[in-house]
């Protein structure tokens, strides 16, 4: 299925575009509904005969979200948390992932891997109270650090295993040579392995970022002060006792999705470039 076998607009190409269309319809339908709702004037939002396209588009809900709510404060806090978690996760997982990939047979290392998966098995619901108590003892409640520590812990296992998978794909010959030349292990990882695993690193980073960006349960449990609140718990501002401000909620959600998608658009060059392929010799 390489490009050379395809002629322009031959039937497989058309089929591929058709598949893409179906895929995008599935993926984007609710999102478009979200954006369309955000753009509708209030009397048009919840009707018995819904229409997809707003008849009189308005930005009033976006104005409300940006002007009369704490939305921007929440965005700032979420950005701080998510970027810190991403950086910490990358460092911790790269080291561990490399160790698992290359030295998985050393005594104790495999045990750590098992522990990592085990640690994921406690249902999040049951972690809330003990972690709340821990954070209280550490004096970290109402501090973004409580979220940073928690989210990093949650994203490290998958990131580590994923990076191990990516490192497994990187051939070992170059490293062996470097190691025989007396290059220290940290340098081997930094100079040789990491550049070859850039797509994996970027995926991991994106994962850690989105997980912390969207997390809800711990975000609302650990933080009570409005000026420290993160985005997803903050969205609850638009949900009343028995009523929901749908227009504002959907406007806020549309805005919340933007940074991540734009970041991905930018990161794609690292994700898709053929860095890894050049060095690989089957």
């Amino acid at each position: 299925m390489t490009s050379t076998t395809w002629r322009r607009w031959s039937w497989p190409v058309l089929l591929a575009y058709a598949c893409v269309a179906v895929l995008l319809a599935y993926a984007l339908f609710p999102v478009l509904w979200m954006v369309s709702t955000a753009l509708k004037p209030t009397p048009e939002i919840r009707t018995a005969e819904p229409t997809f396209v707003p008849s009189r588009p308005t930005f009033e809900h976006f104005g409300l979200v940006l002007g009369q709510s704490n939305f921007l404060t929440y965005v700032r806090n979420s950005l701080l948390v998510a970027t810190t978690v991403t950086a910490a996760t990358l460092v911790v997982s790269t080291l561990a992932g490399y160790a698992f990939s290359r030295f998985g047979r050393l005594p104790g290392i495999s045990l750590a891997g098992v522990a990592m998966v085990l640690g994921q098995m406690v249902p999040g619901v049951l972690l809330v109270v003990p972690l709340y108590i821990t954070m209280n003892n550490l004096g970290l409640l109402d501090s973004l650090w409580s979220l940073i520590l928690t989210y990093t812990t949650f994203s490290v296992p998958l990131s580590t295993l994923m990076l191990k998978g990516f490192f497994d794909q990187v051939p070992t010959e170059v490293e062996e040579a470097a190691q025989l030349d007396g290059c220290p292990p940290s340098q081997v990882v930094w100079r040789i392995v990491l550049p070859l695993a850039v797509p994996g690193l970027m995926t991991t980073a994106l994962y850690a970022f989105v997980q912390s960006w969207n997390e809800f349960l711990f975000g609302y449990t650990f933080i009570s002060q409005d000026d420290r609140r993160t985005l997803t718990p903050g969205l609850a501002d638009f949900i009343g006792l028995w009523t929901v401000d749908w227009g504002a909620l959907m406007a806020a959600a549309s805005l919340a999705v933007l940074p991540v998608t734009l970041a991905y658009l930018y990161l794609q060059r690292y994700l898709i470039s053929g860095i890894a392929t050049g060095a690989t010799k089957g």
């Binding site: 591929a16 893409v20 979200m34 009707t47 290359r102 490192f167 292990p185 809800f216 794609q268 890894a276």
Partner: protein
Amino acid sequence: MGIQIARPARAAPALRLPRPLARHGFVYLFVLPSVLLLLGFTVWPLLRTFWLSVQDVNLVRPGSEFVGLANFRTQLADQTLFWPAVWHSLVWTVGSVGGEYLLGLGAAVLLNQPLRGRGLFRMLVLIPWTVPIVIAAMTWRWILQPEYGIGNVLLVRAGLLAEPVYWLGDLSTALGATIFVNVWRSFPFYTITLLAALQAVPKELLEAAAIDGASAWERFWRITLPHLKGVSLALIVLHVVWTFNNVEFIWLLTEGGPLHASETLATLVYRMAFRTFEISEAAALSVMMIVLLLLVGGGYAVLGRRREERRTT
């Protein structure tokens, strides 16, 4: 599962340099930070869960005492909630992870083709995963609503449905509908991860195989897929664990209803811990969930090892 992790994939044999252990000290240093985080933030909750599971703590009743395995026995004897929830958990987990992986892989392969505008397509496909779960659930609940949901309206208008269906409110469709929504939300992550992994599949191999006359399907099956094995395993193993433990989506979509038709073990735990305050029963249920996961994982690891042994002999 853990055993799988310990064994490097065959694509990249571990460095087997005959060296004294002392020279590998750095390896332990590399693993240390992640182990510390785990110890600090998941081991004590785990131990606390085990301890609570043999007490009879109920927040709305003062005092508690050691009751041994009574909580486990109560659950195992419960035919109305527990056993159906076990079954729903399995369907929910297998259905979600299976659907996510197949759709994620399909989308990754599709978006790896040299299509015009694929950069944009890749970004658009990612979006469902970036929508906060609360919002995604509320939006889907609205779309799937029978009286005023756009999904039903469009399906009826297009003639695909004779009359609106209450997807999330009907005994027979509720669990399927939550799986459908969960797949929608999670598959993009599989797609971008597998897309990244596809970049490392050696093009030379594929081209050589093409010259040798291997069909596209054969090339995918023999060359591409084996290269994705490590990443796929990590994705699947951890998503199985998470999906099995996931509460938010089901809770926000159906609260486990109607009449517990979409109740999983995880939503039961949530109900007990936060609604009915039966803390010890929730803990006992969690311990059983962990055991169930370990059984599945252990079984899988044993099977995997046997197959490998058969191959090598």
